[in-house]
């Protein structure tokens, strides 16, 4: 008789439940579990919200102002990226060249994604819409610009931005797949003689040249201080 003892053992609770269901008791239990599931979700909501508010969040980027680093004209998609909020909330200083999301100082409901060009204490040569030719970035402020100089609304329009408006730092591109991966710092690509120069090589070189052009407009505090010191010593 016990040819399939395991099967019998397994089948017993199922039949039992079925019988109880007929007695209208299991229905009640099933209904209660259906109600309690959303409640459990709401109960754990703070954990999820806290994670996206203070650690990492995924967002889609609209607009061409960071072209060609993000949303290049060659791609038909809007980039989906990972933003690191912990890097900003933990209070570690932001670096020059980082791409950050910040709240638009003109329209407080909007978020903008820009690159940090200069930090507090630096002197920067501004681009046309700005009234002054050179600006010293004040304490607690940064200078942000888009990578595409003609299609961006950035510090050249509204001046240095207070650090308090910073929201998160861009770390990882997850869509489209041909540019998936962490954000690479612009370094000159090493190429051996005879290597084929593909489109990636050219875009790397272009990014590096843009980075050099940006850096040439910024005078950091340390260099100006050392220059002043030497001048003082000479005089």
């Amino acid at each position: 008789m016990p040819l399939f003892p395991k099967f019998l053992q397994f089948s017993r609770p199922i039949t039992a439940r079925w019988v109880r269901g007929a007695a209208n008791e299991g229905n009640f239990r099933r209904a209660r579990s259906l109600i309690s599931r959303p409640w459990r979700l709401i109960y754990w909501l703070p954990l999820g919200l806290g994670f996206t508010q203070y650690f990492y969040t995924v967002k889609t980027i609209r607009g061409r102002s960071m072209q060609p680093t993000l949303n290049p004209d060659t791609s038909g998609w809007d980039d989906i990226v990972v933003f690191d909020r912990y890097a900003i909330h933990s209070g570690e200083p932001v670096g020059k060249g980082d791409i950050v999301a910040l709240r638009d100082p003109i329209d407080s409901r909007k978020m903008i994604v820009k690159r940090i060009i200069a930090v507090a204490g630096d002197v920067i040569k501004t681009l046309p819409p700005y009234p002054d030719a050179e600006v010293a970035v004040p304490e607690g402020h940064i200078w942000v610009e888009g990578d595409e100089p003609f299609r961006t609304l950035d510090s050249n329009k509204f001046g240095p931005v207070p650090l308090a408006l910073l929201d998160s730092k861009l770390t990882y591109i997850i869509w489209p797949l041909d540019r998936i991966g962490p954000l690479r710092p612009p370094v000159p690509p090493v190429s051996k003689r005879g290597d084929p120069r593909d489109s990636r090589w050219y875009s790397d070189i272009a990014a590096f040249e843009r980075e050099q052009r940006r850096q040439s407009r910024v005078t950091t505090r340390s260099t100006t201080l050392s220059q002043q010191n030497t001048e003082n010593l000479v005089t």
């Binding site: 209070g91 709240r103 638009d104 003109i106 329209d107 407080s108 409901r109 607690g140 408006l165």
Partner: protein, 176 residues
């Protein structure tokens, strides 16, 4: 039969403690998120709002959710809390003096700027000032501040019970 190791015996305890920690973190986050996005009581310190708010030991109600929902309803004369444009880790409390488009005299007392200097407040910015002009760091020092820095309003003072006040934006305009 394998004798049960200490790990086997401790497993339910470890599970229980872990779950308890998770519940605790969840409650803490819920409390924090409520305080950051809806509002709640908070202590005030500092001399910059002196005749209105005392130097220390006052408990006020900060309301954040109404400002989150309707950020354009700021009015002149309201008490607001905002993140300091100079130091992002500080939250300051000031009074709204000017809204976008207003022409403001930078410092009528002539302490920090000549009293004839006037500025137009750009779009999306406001002019803030402390009530104690002699000891306040405000827009006279750092200019108009972005509306995106505003956290919420000060709704009422609750702690010294004899000084209970509901703050309202009762700005009186002098027609010329």
């Amino acid at each position: 039969m394998i004798p049960p190791s200490w790990l086997h015996r401790a497993e339910p305890t470890i599970k229980g403690v872990g779950l308890a920690c998770l519940h605790l973190v969840n409650f803490g986050l819920a409390f924090h998120l409520f305080k950051e996005n809806v509002g709640g009581p908070c202590f005030m310190a500092g001399p910059s709002m002196l005749p209105t708010l005392d130097n220390s030991g006052e408990l006020v109600i900060e309301s954040i959710l109404p400002h989150r929902l309707f950020p354009n309803r700021l009015a002149r004369g309201e008490l607001i809390t905002l993140i300091s444009p100079v130091n992002p880790s500080r939250i300051i409390c000031k009074r709204v003096i000017g809204l976008p488009g207003d022409i403001i005299c930078v410092d009528p007392t002539g302490l920090k700027a000549p009293s004839t200097e006037h500025v137009v407040i750009p779009k999306g910015h406001i002019w803030i000032a402390g009530d104690n002009a002699a000891w306040s760091m405000d827009s006279r020092d750092y200019g108009p501040v972005s509306m995106a820095l505003v956290r919420g309003r000060i709704a009422a003072r609750i702690y010294p019970f004899n000084r209970f006040t509901v703050f309202s934006s009762a700005a009186t305009y002098i027609d010329q």
